[in-house]
Protein backbone atom coordinates (compact mmCIF):
# COMPACT_ATOMS: atom_id res chain seq x y z
CA UNK A 1 0.00 0.00 0.00
CA UNK A 2 1.44 3.35 -1.02
CA UNK A 3 0.43 6.61 0.63
CA UNK A 4 -1.68 8.84 -1.56
CA UNK A 5 -0.69 12.42 -2.22
CA UNK A 6 -3.44 13.75 0.06
CA UNK A 7 -2.39 11.35 2.82
CA UNK A 8 1.22 12.55 2.62
CA UNK A 9 -0.11 16.10 2.98
CA UNK A 10 -2.60 15.25 5.75
CA UNK A 11 -0.13 13.32 7.90
CA UNK A 12 2.97 15.36 6.99
CA UNK A 13 3.54 16.64 10.55
CA UNK A 14 3.82 13.15 11.93
CA UNK A 15 5.51 11.58 8.90
CA UNK A 16 8.44 13.98 9.39
CA UNK A 17 8.88 12.80 12.99
CA UNK A 18 12.00 10.75 13.63
CA UNK A 19 11.11 7.04 13.76
CA UNK A 20 7.67 7.52 12.23
CA UNK A 21 8.04 8.31 8.52
CA UNK A 22 5.93 6.83 5.76
CA UNK A 23 6.54 3.40 7.25
CA UNK A 24 5.01 4.44 10.58
CA UNK A 25 2.08 6.08 8.86
CA UNK A 26 1.37 2.85 7.01
CA UNK A 27 1.40 1.02 10.34
CA UNK A 28 -1.19 3.46 11.68
CA UNK A 29 -3.36 3.05 8.60
CA UNK A 30 -3.18 -0.73 8.92
CA UNK A 31 -3.94 -0.72 12.67
CA UNK A 32 -7.23 -1.80 14.22
CA UNK A 33 -8.13 -0.22 17.54
CA UNK A 34 -11.23 -0.97 19.62
CA UNK A 35 -12.56 1.79 21.88
CA UNK A 36 -14.92 0.64 24.62
CA UNK A 37 -17.13 3.57 25.60
CA UNK A 38 -17.69 6.68 23.46
CA UNK A 39 -17.72 8.88 26.56
CA UNK A 40 -15.36 11.09 28.52
CA UNK A 41 -12.25 9.00 27.82
CA UNK A 42 -13.30 7.50 24.50
CA UNK A 43 -14.23 10.85 22.91
CA UNK A 44 -10.83 12.56 23.02
CA UNK A 45 -9.04 9.27 22.33
CA UNK A 46 -11.18 8.59 19.25
CA UNK A 47 -10.61 12.10 17.90
CA UNK A 48 -6.82 11.83 18.17
CA UNK A 49 -6.67 8.27 16.88
CA UNK A 50 -8.87 9.19 13.91
CA UNK A 51 -6.84 12.30 13.19
CA UNK A 52 -3.62 10.30 13.30
CA UNK A 53 -5.01 7.94 10.68
CA UNK A 54 -5.70 4.74 12.59
CA UNK A 55 -7.18 2.71 9.75
CA UNK A 56 -9.90 0.85 11.62
CA UNK A 57 -11.58 2.07 14.77
CA UNK A 58 -14.23 -0.03 16.49
CA UNK A 59 -16.48 1.75 18.97
CA UNK A 60 -18.64 0.02 21.55
CA UNK A 61 -21.39 1.90 23.38
CA UNK A 62 -25.05 1.18 24.01
CA UNK A 63 -26.08 4.67 25.06
CA UNK A 64 -27.65 7.58 23.26
CA UNK A 65 -26.18 11.08 23.39
CA UNK A 66 -27.62 13.21 26.19
CA UNK A 67 -27.25 16.93 26.73
CA UNK A 68 -25.39 16.35 30.02
CA UNK A 69 -22.74 14.33 28.12
CA UNK A 70 -21.54 17.31 26.10
CA UNK A 71 -19.70 18.86 29.06
CA UNK A 72 -16.96 16.24 28.58
CA UNK A 73 -17.78 13.85 25.73
CA UNK A 74 -16.31 16.10 23.08
CA UNK A 75 -16.89 13.85 20.08
CA UNK A 76 -20.65 14.48 20.26
CA UNK A 77 -22.59 17.63 19.46
CA UNK A 78 -25.96 19.20 20.21
CA UNK A 79 -27.59 18.02 17.00
CA UNK A 80 -26.72 14.41 17.96
CA UNK A 81 -28.66 14.42 21.23
CA UNK A 82 -30.92 11.37 21.21
CA UNK A 83 -28.86 9.49 18.59
CA UNK A 84 -26.80 6.40 19.45
CA UNK A 85 -23.34 7.48 20.59
CA UNK A 86 -21.64 5.06 18.23
CA UNK A 87 -23.35 6.68 15.22
CA UNK A 88 -22.59 10.17 16.42
CA UNK A 89 -18.94 9.20 16.99
CA UNK A 90 -18.66 7.51 13.60
CA UNK A 91 -19.99 10.55 11.77
CA UNK A 92 -17.67 12.91 13.62
CA UNK A 93 -14.65 10.66 12.95
CA UNK A 94 -15.44 10.47 9.26
CA UNK A 95 -16.01 14.22 9.13
CA UNK A 96 -12.38 14.55 10.27
CA UNK A 97 -10.87 11.69 8.33
CA UNK A 98 -12.47 9.52 5.67
CA UNK A 99 -9.48 7.16 5.75
CA UNK A 100 -10.83 5.68 8.96
CA UNK A 101 -13.11 2.69 8.70
CA UNK A 102 -15.41 2.88 11.73
CA UNK A 103 -17.10 -0.26 13.00
CA UNK A 104 -19.92 0.44 15.44
CA UNK A 105 -21.19 -1.83 18.19
CA UNK A 106 -24.39 -0.38 19.63
CA UNK A 107 -24.36 -2.70 22.63
CA UNK A 108 -22.84 -3.35 26.04
CA UNK A 109 -19.95 -5.77 26.23
CA UNK A 110 -20.85 -8.90 28.18
CA UNK A 111 -19.16 -12.17 29.00
CA UNK A 112 -20.99 -13.65 26.01
CA UNK A 113 -20.01 -11.18 23.28
CA UNK A 114 -16.70 -9.58 24.28
CA UNK A 115 -14.28 -12.26 23.06
CA UNK A 116 -15.85 -12.19 19.63
CA UNK A 117 -15.76 -8.39 19.50
CA UNK A 118 -12.13 -7.95 20.51
CA UNK A 119 -10.66 -10.79 18.48
CA UNK A 120 -9.94 -8.83 15.31
CA UNK A 121 -8.33 -5.80 16.97
CA UNK A 122 -4.66 -5.08 17.62
CA UNK A 123 -5.22 -3.18 20.86
CA UNK A 124 -8.18 -2.33 23.06
CA UNK A 125 -8.75 1.04 24.75
CA UNK A 126 -10.99 0.84 27.82
CA UNK A 127 -12.98 4.00 28.37
CA UNK A 128 -15.88 2.37 30.21
CA UNK A 129 -17.42 3.75 33.36
CA UNK A 130 -17.98 0.92 35.79
CA UNK A 131 -16.06 -1.78 37.62
CA UNK A 132 -17.85 -4.86 36.19
CA UNK A 133 -17.04 -3.76 32.63
CA UNK A 134 -13.45 -2.89 33.51
CA UNK A 135 -12.79 -6.30 35.06
CA UNK A 136 -14.57 -8.02 32.17
CA UNK A 137 -12.44 -6.11 29.64
CA UNK A 138 -9.24 -6.89 31.55
CA UNK A 139 -10.05 -10.58 31.84
CA UNK A 140 -11.11 -10.85 28.20
CA UNK A 141 -7.92 -9.13 27.05
CA UNK A 142 -5.73 -11.34 29.25
CA UNK A 143 -7.48 -14.53 28.09
CA UNK A 144 -7.23 -13.39 24.44
CA UNK A 145 -3.71 -11.95 24.86
CA UNK A 146 -4.85 -8.57 23.55
CA UNK A 147 -2.95 -5.45 24.59
CA UNK A 148 -5.09 -3.08 26.63
CA UNK A 149 -4.88 0.60 27.49
CA UNK A 150 -6.73 1.18 30.74
CA UNK A 151 -7.78 4.60 31.96
CA UNK A 152 -9.98 5.63 34.86
CA UNK A 153 -11.16 8.93 36.27
CA UNK A 154 -12.84 9.99 39.49
CA UNK A 155 -13.56 13.63 40.32
CA UNK A 156 -10.10 15.23 40.11
CA UNK A 157 -8.10 11.98 39.93
CA UNK A 158 -7.04 10.03 36.89
CA UNK A 159 -5.18 6.77 36.36
CA UNK A 160 -3.74 5.01 33.34
CA UNK A 161 -1.88 1.77 32.73
CA UNK A 162 -1.06 -0.26 29.64
CA UNK A 163 -1.31 -4.03 29.82
CA UNK A 164 0.52 -6.46 27.56
CA UNK A 165 -0.88 -9.85 28.62
CA UNK A 166 1.78 -12.42 29.44
CA UNK A 167 4.43 -9.72 29.67
CA UNK A 168 3.26 -7.03 32.06
CA UNK A 169 0.96 -6.74 35.06
CA UNK A 170 -2.76 -6.81 34.34
CA UNK A 171 -5.45 -4.78 36.09
CA UNK A 172 -6.13 -7.60 38.55
CA UNK A 173 -2.41 -7.70 39.45
CA UNK A 174 -2.98 -4.10 40.47
CA UNK A 175 -6.40 -4.43 42.12
CA UNK A 176 -7.40 -8.08 42.39
CA UNK A 177 -11.05 -7.36 43.06
CA UNK A 178 -13.48 -4.52 42.42
CA UNK A 179 -15.01 -2.73 45.37
CA UNK A 180 -18.36 -4.05 46.49
CA UNK A 181 -21.27 -2.36 44.71
CA UNK A 182 -22.28 0.96 46.21
CA UNK A 183 -19.02 1.72 47.99
CA UNK A 184 -17.55 3.83 45.21
CA UNK A 185 -19.82 6.32 43.45
CA UNK A 186 -19.86 6.45 39.65
CA UNK A 187 -19.15 9.62 37.64
CA UNK A 188 -22.86 10.26 37.48
CA UNK A 189 -23.00 10.48 41.26
CA UNK A 190 -19.49 11.82 41.86
CA UNK A 191 -19.08 14.45 39.17
CA UNK A 192 -16.18 14.94 36.79
CA UNK A 193 -14.39 17.86 35.23
CA UNK A 194 -14.34 17.33 31.47
CA UNK A 195 -10.69 18.29 31.09
CA UNK A 196 -9.66 15.56 33.55
CA UNK A 197 -11.28 12.98 31.26
CA UNK A 198 -9.47 14.69 28.38
CA UNK A 199 -6.06 14.37 30.03
CA UNK A 200 -6.46 10.65 30.67
CA UNK A 201 -8.21 9.89 27.36
CA UNK A 202 -5.42 11.61 25.43
CA UNK A 203 -2.79 9.70 27.42
CA UNK A 204 -4.57 6.52 26.37
CA UNK A 205 -4.59 7.63 22.72
CA UNK A 206 -0.87 8.35 23.02
CA UNK A 207 -0.29 4.87 24.45
CA UNK A 208 -2.16 3.30 21.53
CA UNK A 209 -0.19 5.34 18.99
CA UNK A 210 3.16 4.42 20.62
CA UNK A 211 2.14 0.77 20.72
CA UNK A 212 1.19 0.73 17.04
CA UNK A 213 4.31 2.64 16.01
CA UNK A 214 6.60 0.68 18.33
CA UNK A 215 7.92 3.92 19.77
CA UNK A 216 9.25 4.71 23.23
CA UNK A 217 8.01 2.93 26.32
CA UNK A 218 4.36 2.19 26.90
CA UNK A 219 2.97 2.45 30.42
CA UNK A 220 3.49 -1.19 31.32
CA UNK A 221 4.44 -2.22 34.85
CA UNK A 222 3.51 1.17 36.22
CA UNK A 223 0.39 3.12 37.03
CA UNK A 224 0.28 6.76 36.05
CA UNK A 225 -1.64 8.79 38.62
CA UNK A 226 -2.87 12.27 37.71
CA UNK A 227 -4.02 14.79 40.29
CA UNK A 228 -5.83 17.59 38.51
CA UNK A 229 -5.96 19.90 41.53
CA UNK A 230 -2.18 19.84 41.91
CA UNK A 231 -1.52 19.39 38.17
CA UNK A 232 0.78 16.56 39.23
CA UNK A 233 1.63 13.22 37.68
CA UNK A 234 3.14 10.37 39.66
CA UNK A 235 4.03 6.83 38.69
CA UNK A 236 4.00 3.82 40.97
CA UNK A 237 5.35 0.38 40.12
CA UNK A 238 2.94 -2.40 39.26
CA UNK A 239 4.43 -5.86 39.52
CA UNK A 240 2.98 -8.98 38.00
CA UNK A 241 1.28 -10.75 40.89
CA UNK A 242 1.96 -14.50 41.02
CA UNK A 243 -1.33 -14.75 42.92
CA UNK A 244 -3.27 -12.76 40.30
CA UNK A 245 -6.65 -14.45 39.81
CA UNK A 246 -6.46 -14.13 36.02
CA UNK A 247 -2.80 -14.02 34.93
CA UNK A 248 -1.07 -15.56 37.98
CA UNK A 249 0.40 -19.02 38.44
CA UNK A 250 -2.86 -20.67 39.48
CA UNK A 251 -5.59 -18.58 37.90
CA UNK A 252 -9.08 -18.90 39.33
CA UNK A 253 -10.56 -16.83 36.52
CA UNK A 254 -10.27 -19.10 33.49
CA UNK A 255 -13.43 -17.96 31.76
CA UNK A 256 -15.36 -14.75 31.80
CA UNK A 257 -17.57 -13.99 34.72
CA UNK A 258 -21.04 -12.52 34.70
CA UNK A 259 -21.38 -9.11 36.27
CA UNK A 260 -23.25 -10.08 39.42
CA UNK A 261 -20.62 -12.52 40.60
CA UNK A 262 -17.72 -10.13 40.77
CA UNK A 263 -17.50 -9.85 44.49
CA UNK A 264 -17.20 -13.58 45.06
CA UNK A 265 -13.86 -14.20 43.40
CA UNK A 266 -11.44 -15.78 45.79
CA UNK A 267 -7.77 -14.98 45.77
CA UNK A 268 -5.57 -18.05 46.11
Amino acid sequence: MELREDQIERYSRQIILPNVGGKGQKKLLAAKVLIIGAGGLGSPAALYLASAGIGTIGIVDSDKVELNNLQRQIIHSVKEVGRPKVESARDRINAINEDVKVITYNLRVTSLNILDIIKDYDIIMDGSDNFPTRYLVNDACVLSKKPLSHGGIFRFDGQAITIIPGESACYRCLFSEPPPPGLVPSCQEAGILGAVAGVIGVIQANEVLKFVLGLGNVLTGKLLVFNALESSFRQVKVHRDPKCPVCGENPTVTKLIDYGQFCQIKRR
Partner: protein
Protein backbone atom coordinates in the same frame (compact mmCIF):
# COMPACT_ATOMS: atom_id res chain seq x y z
CA UNK B 1 8.85 10.27 62.25
CA UNK B 2 7.11 12.48 59.77
CA UNK B 3 5.73 10.64 56.78
CA UNK B 4 3.96 12.47 53.99
CA UNK B 5 0.79 10.63 53.00
CA UNK B 6 -0.93 11.28 49.68
CA UNK B 7 -4.70 11.04 50.09
CA UNK B 8 -6.90 10.08 47.12
CA UNK B 9 -9.98 12.15 46.30
CA UNK B 10 -12.52 9.66 47.74
CA UNK B 11 -10.90 9.91 51.19
CA UNK B 12 -10.33 13.64 51.27
CA UNK B 13 -13.65 14.22 52.98
CA UNK B 14 -12.02 12.70 56.07
CA UNK B 15 -8.88 14.84 55.78
CA UNK B 16 -10.80 18.12 55.41
CA UNK B 17 -10.14 18.14 51.65
CA UNK B 18 -6.39 17.91 52.05
CA UNK B 19 -4.63 15.92 49.32
CA UNK B 20 -1.60 15.24 51.50
CA UNK B 21 -1.16 15.02 55.24
CA UNK B 22 1.67 14.27 57.66
CA UNK B 23 1.49 11.23 59.90
CA UNK B 24 3.74 9.16 62.11
CA UNK B 25 4.64 5.50 62.35
CA UNK B 26 7.54 3.14 61.88
CA UNK B 27 5.41 0.75 59.83
CA UNK B 28 2.38 0.94 57.56
CA UNK B 29 0.22 -0.51 60.32
CA UNK B 30 1.32 2.17 62.78
CA UNK B 31 0.84 4.83 60.14
CA UNK B 32 -2.76 3.72 59.49
CA UNK B 33 -3.45 3.74 63.25
CA UNK B 34 -2.01 7.25 63.49
CA UNK B 35 -4.16 8.40 60.56
CA UNK B 36 -7.20 6.91 62.30
CA UNK B 37 -6.36 8.95 65.39
CA UNK B 38 -6.16 12.18 63.41
CA UNK B 39 -9.03 11.37 61.07
CA UNK B 40 -11.58 9.08 62.73
CA UNK B 41 -13.15 6.66 60.25
CA UNK B 42 -10.02 6.53 58.11
CA UNK B 43 -9.00 2.98 58.96
CA UNK B 44 -12.42 1.56 58.21
CA UNK B 45 -12.24 2.96 54.70
CA UNK B 46 -8.81 1.44 54.02
CA UNK B 47 -9.01 -1.87 55.88
CA UNK B 48 -11.62 -4.63 56.06
CA UNK B 49 -13.05 -6.09 59.29
CA UNK B 50 -9.95 -8.26 59.77
CA UNK B 51 -7.68 -5.22 59.58
CA UNK B 52 -6.25 -6.13 56.16
CA UNK B 53 -5.93 -3.47 53.47
CA UNK B 54 -8.90 -3.77 51.11
CA UNK B 55 -8.23 -5.41 47.75
CA UNK B 56 -9.26 -2.41 45.69
CA UNK B 57 -6.89 -0.11 47.55
CA UNK B 58 -3.10 -0.20 47.32
CA UNK B 59 -0.56 1.47 49.54
CA UNK B 60 2.79 2.52 48.15
CA UNK B 61 5.94 3.53 49.97
CA UNK B 62 7.57 5.89 47.53
CA UNK B 63 6.99 3.94 44.26
CA UNK B 64 6.73 0.45 45.72
CA UNK B 65 3.52 -1.46 46.42
CA UNK B 66 3.63 -2.72 50.02
CA UNK B 67 2.01 -5.98 48.89
CA UNK B 68 5.36 -6.79 47.32
CA UNK B 69 7.30 -5.60 50.39
CA UNK B 70 6.15 -6.68 53.85
CA UNK B 71 2.52 -5.62 53.50
CA UNK B 72 1.42 -3.66 56.57
CA UNK B 73 4.64 -4.60 58.37
CA UNK B 74 6.58 -2.63 55.77
CA UNK B 75 8.85 -0.28 57.68
CA UNK B 76 8.91 3.45 57.18
CA UNK B 77 11.65 5.96 57.64
CA UNK B 78 11.73 9.71 57.93
CA UNK B 79 11.08 11.36 54.58
CA UNK B 80 9.25 8.41 53.02
CA UNK B 81 6.24 9.28 50.95
CA UNK B 82 3.22 7.02 51.26
CA UNK B 83 0.50 6.98 48.59
CA UNK B 84 -2.93 5.48 49.06
CA UNK B 85 -4.34 4.62 45.65
CA UNK B 86 -7.82 3.13 45.18
CA UNK B 87 -9.21 1.58 42.02
CA UNK B 88 -11.29 4.12 40.12
CA UNK B 89 -13.68 3.21 37.36
CA UNK B 90 -15.14 6.39 35.89
CA UNK B 91 -14.77 7.02 32.19
CA UNK B 92 -17.95 8.40 30.78
Amino acid sequence: MAIKVMIPTPLQKLTKNRADVEANGSSIRELIDDLEKSFPGFKERICDETGKVRRFINIYVNEEDVRFLKQDNTSLKDGDEVSIIPAIAGGR
